[in-house]
Symmetry: C2
């Protein structure tokens, strides 16, 4: 398709598409002649991804570039791939030390996790920040959260492994991890409302 | 305590504390004389809250002001309170129309939710954005997510209702909703890694 068709298909204007290509977020089209390039379905998918990262998650251009470049060099194994995709996405509290409480929680749940996983630090920092702001987060609450999250993670992994190709699995994992966060946040608000109406 | 003690207690510098008070995010202290004011434990809690909202969630000053002003006028019932606290917090995709799929999901789970709840629109928009970016989100996946989220919401509501006073419950709900999101996001990344190692 032509650039004007890519614009029509994605709902993103031609100046913005040109900007994305200059910034390396979307690969250039295949040159047909001096004034025309041709674009494929992969371009449509990439443009939609960039929009979702920018509009949906509010990522900066630099962060989008990190995610996109992780997609362009998929790692060897699926387990490795998950780590690489997650590391490319920004997480809060990553300069925090891992607490004993978080180590204990992971051990208690029997989760096999790399000791250097960024999420261990994010979790420790997020728990501390919530508590500092007055949210108690009792051990029983954290255990109940962990049980709920296990159900969610089993669905995540089933969806990722169902993907047809490794490239597609990278996309599902990298994007799924971040793009599903707002889905779960909205669901949790609905379930909170439903549960509070019952009590 | 004096302003210098409030600074020491919270780890926030005096110029920043003065800025928060000028901006109405932290109430002024009780005036003792022309040069001295006195601050209470409530000030410590408020300053920690503002830090968590700014640093942890990356909220703008205007968004922090909205959250803080919801805390300063608690609504009548606990169920109402939850809606008010959630509405004060920014959510993505709120200008999206509620989809039939989301209505069906809520009905299927038996969730009693106000038809105008912002989270219905957020959920519809977040699902669409994830799909547009290539994350499939099959109906079975959404149902598994909903089951996991119910476990989490039951823990949320138990924690909120355990709070001693209505004011404290407002804090738990308003902050808990937003400040627990990063806790759950980090937990999900760990559980994803653990589940993917098993398969």
């Amino acid at each position: 398709m032509r650039l004007s068709e890519l614009a029509a298909e994605t709902g993103v204007g031609i100046p913005t598409l040109k900007f994305y290509m200059r910034e390396g977020l979307v690969p250039p089209g295949e040159r047909v002649n001096a004034t025309t390039s041709r674009y494929a379905v992969a371009h449509v998918e990439r443009v939609r991804l960039v929009r979702a990262l920018v509009d949906g998650l509010g990522l900066s251009l630099a962060q989008v570039r990190t995610v996109v470049s992780a997609l362009d060099r998929p790692p060897a194994s699926r387990h490795e791939l998950l780590g690489a995709a997650q590391a490319a996405l920004p997480s809060p509290y990553t300069n925090h030390a891992v607490t004993e409480e978080v180590r204990d929680l992971v051990a208690r749940r029997g989760w096999s996790v790399h000791p250097g996983a960024t999420a261990l630090r994010s979790l420790s920092g997020a728990i501390e920040a919530a508590r500092a702001a007055g949210v108690e987060l009792a051990p029983a609450t954290l255990d109940a959260y962990a049980a709920g999250v296990e159900t969610i993670a089993a669905a995540d992994v089933a969806a990722a492994w169902a993907a047809a190709t490794p490239e597609k699995a990278v996309a599902v994992v990298a994007l799924g991890t971040a793009l599903v966060d707002p889905v779960l946040a909205a669901m949790r608000r609905l379930a909170d409302e439903a549960m509070s109406a019952q009590t």
